[in-house]
Each structure stands twice: as structure tokens, then as C-alpha cells.
Amino acid sequence: MTFKLAASPHSHQRRTTQQVMRWVYVALIPGLLTLMYFFGWGVLWQLALAVSTAFVVEALSMRLRGRTIQSAWQDHTALVTAILLAISIPSLAPWWLIVIGTAFAIGVVKHVYGGVGQNIFNPAMAGYVVLLISFPVQMTSWPLPTQISQFELSFMDAASVIFTGFTPAGYDLEQLRMGADGLTMATPLDSLRTALNHQLTIGEALQQPIFGTLAGLGWQWVNLAFLLGGVVLIKQRIISWHIPTGMLLGLAVPAALAWLFAPDQSVSPLMHLLSGATMLGAFFIATDPVTAATSNRGRLYFGLLVGFLVFVIRTWGGYPDAVAFAVLLANMTVPIIDKYTQPVAYGHGGRS
């Protein structure tokens, strides 16, 4: 009789990548619905464009690498990248924006490095940064939340803006972004930065209608919805709590300090937490299992670093939001974090 020798771990969780990714879709649903409620049908068109581009590019890359197309498509990672990118870009951006971004994210950032599990950088965020650097105007032209916008766009109107740049009635994106007072309005974070640059205090800046009760009309609810989805992911043990907690702390603690010492010149921690891409970043982007740190302690440090970088870039950087840059910069530090936080194996080293 032979005894089968098996190395640890002895108990597995039988969950395939496909199932993990399916939970990610489910968790994204509340955020997506909220985003659509506030920013209209454009979100859905961006999603459709991103997913179809991802499908084509993934198939082409697999072809070039001599693999079968099905094997790549089955694990759904390309789909998640496409969805994250589609959520991050302005909902009425021209169609070629999302196509270029997704093609770069899948084709270059993911497959050039060797496909699933081999990429150093988060594909969705690298695609986002490429777009932000190349087309800063289009990438910061978020439409107004439907509640304070003068225009109501139907499903086909949104398509018309995305594909031709004009609504059937002949309005372009710039006109659609005007508030009732005829001024174009930026996102809450963008407006705050401009106001601070014009020597206004935070109190004065917050008078603009773009800021709702908590942290910016629309954005606060989008962020809360992503938070809800993120909690579901943690409950389902798809992601561990270390990275999101680290990132939120890394952002909130410096923000709170700055706010306590200079309340007129710095953005409140609540505003930091509930505006821009904070929650999406903390729960869905920074937690990418491939490009984040591996051990739990490492993940905590990784999260703290991302959060701190978000604070630094939002406060002193050149761009209004910072999650994409912070995640990419932290991705670079992952090998060194992993090296110094490697847990000691049972029976080896340690204090005796």
C-alpha cells in the first residue's frame, strides 16, 4: 500500500478565477446603477464599447501568442479590466477614447508582459493613465449629474454624443456640461482645486451647486454604492480587508491632520473619502490580486502607500484625482514590499 504524499496547503478553496470574477461583477452592480442614475445612459455605452474592444484585443493577442482564444476569455479577467476602465472614464467621452484605452490596457499592459497573472501594472489603471496623459481635456470632461443639468439625454442621445460629438438637437459636450448659470462645471475635486488656486477658502468653494450634502452631488452616492459592493466582496472573502482598510486609512489620516491644522485650505477627510474614485479604487482597483502585494502585512503597507499617495497627489499634484497614478506607483514598489514582508515559514527562523 502506498501513501500519497502531498505538500501543503492541504485544504483548498475550490473557487476558480471565473467564479471570483463573477463575484466582482455582482459587487460592481450597485455602483454601476448609481453611476447610471447620476450620469445617464452614456455609462452603458462606454461599457458596451469597452467590453467589445476587450474581446477583440484579447482574441487578437491570444492568437499572436499562439494560444486558443477560448482559454483566455474563460477567466473573465479582460472583462473586469474593461468594466473598470469604462467606469473610470467620463460617461459622454468620445468613442475612440475608451477604445484606445482598453486596447492599450489589454494588448500592451497585460499581454506584452505575459497575460493573466504576469503583468506588473494594473491594466485598467495603466490604460486610464495613458488616456489621461494623452487626452487631458476629454478625460476631465465629466458631464453634470442629471439633477442639476439642464438637459435630459435619452439612450440614443447619449450614443449620438459619444459617436458624433453632438446630440440630435445639435448640442456639443461643452454645452451639455453647462449648469443653469451658463458656466461649465467640473467635478467636485476639480472645482475645489481651481477654487483653492484662486485663493478661495474651502467654505467659499463649497457654495457651488456641484457640492451636495456630503462630498459632491452624485459622487458621494456613487462612492457609497462602491463601498457597499466592496463590503460584499470582503464578506465573500474574494478580497481581504487589508488593502481597502490600508488605503482608506492612508488617505484619511493625513487628510484629517491637514484639515485639523488648516481647515480653510484643505479638503475635509470625508470629502476625500467620498469623492472621485476613492471607494472604487480602494475595493476594486488596488485589490487586484496580480499587481498588489501578496502577504497580509504586505497588503496593509501597499494599501497605506496607495492612500498616502492619493492624498499627496490630490493635494500637490497636477491632476485633480490621483487613484490611477497612486496605484501604478505603488505597483512598482510591490516586489520590495513582498521581499520585506515575506512571512516566516512554520519551523524556520523566527525568535527561538
Binding site: 484606445i100 500592451v108 506584452v112 495613458v130 496623459i133 494623452s134 487626452f135 487631458p136 481635456v137 476629454q138
Partner: protein, 228 residues
Amino acid sequence: MSYRDITWQGLWENNPALVQLLGLCPLLAVTATVTNALGLGLATLLVLIGSNITVSLVRDFVPKEIRIPVFVMVIATYVTVIQLLMNAYVYGLYQSLGIFIPLIVTNCAIIGRAEAFASKNPWQRAAFDGLMMGLGFTLVLLVLGAIREVIGNGTLFDGANLLLGDWAAALRIELFSVDYPLLLAILPPGAFIAMGFIIALKNIIDQRRAERASKPVKEVTRARVTSQ
């Protein structure tokens, strides 16, 4: 080393930009357009030929211990000459290349050739080596410049008249017109990415060549000597 070998080494096998990865700073900084790439490539080529010949001629009189300062002085002299010539004859290009003309002095490809080849070979071969290495460098600059200009701007040879005179304005080709240039391709990150792809392409070609060169080994059929 035969002239044929020198050609092959300079243009492909030991290409300063693709294999030795020398002189990356100007390579990445000025290749936003084909014209800039050609201008800097030619300047580097001329400096390389001049410095190689001079270094080769004085190689027997320079003490080993101080050879590097001497080589640098020789290179700096040629760079100054080229810089003044460009200032006089192609002023527009001189302005658009800016600091990168004097920085040719620090291009490691040049001091590298002076040390590795010119200081050990007769002047004819050194001159030929400078020509081939310079050509190899220029070709990579041109390819990189063309890729970045096409992707970023949709044009080729934009501003060629700055380098070649007024007739060259006709060289400008507009492949497609873009409302919003893809800034990434024109900015330094685009240069790094494009350079990565060019090096990868060269490696693929080398791999294919190696596969074709290695002849299939003849299968030896083994005779069965035991029966079990």
C-alpha cells in the same frame, strides 16, 4: 576584423541603440519627429567618424593612464565644431534640438567606440566603424522618430525644411489628420514603449534567424540489439 564584419556589427549585431543600449538619453528625448531624429543622428554620425579617426591616429602617443580625458577632449572638440556648423546652417533645427547637441559629448556610444575599437585599430577601419555605428544609431533614431510621429501626429517629415532647406517642405506627408494628438507617443513614456517594441522585434528576428540557421539534427535510428 573585415569591413564586412564591421558593417554587420554596427548596423545589426552590435547596434549601439538596440543592443548596447547606449545613448538612450538623446535617443528618447529628441525622436518626437523624423526631422529631429535625422538631425541628431547625422550630428552623432559625423562626431563619431571624426573622433574615431583622431583617436585612432593618436593612439600610439597617448599614455594609457590619461586616455579617457584625451578621448573626451577629442569628442568635445568635434561636438563643438558640429554645434557651430548647425548653428550657422540649420538654425531652426539647432533651436529645436537645443541642449541635446552639446550633450552628444556625453553619448556613451561615442566614447565606447573610441575605447573599444578606435584605440586598437588603424584609422581606416576606425573611420569605417564610426560610419557604420553612426548609421546604425541613426537608423534606429529614424525608425523610432517615424513611429512616434505617425502615432502622435499622423504626419511624417514634419518640419524637414528646417534641416534640408526649403525644397524639403514638400516631403511632409500627412497620413491622417487628428483633432487631438496622442500626446503619449510624443512624450518620453511613448519613446520608452516604442523602443521596447523595436528591441522586441529585433529579438524576434534574431530568434527566427537562429532557428533557420540551426539545421535539423539527423535522426539516428537505433538498431534493437536485445530482445525482451
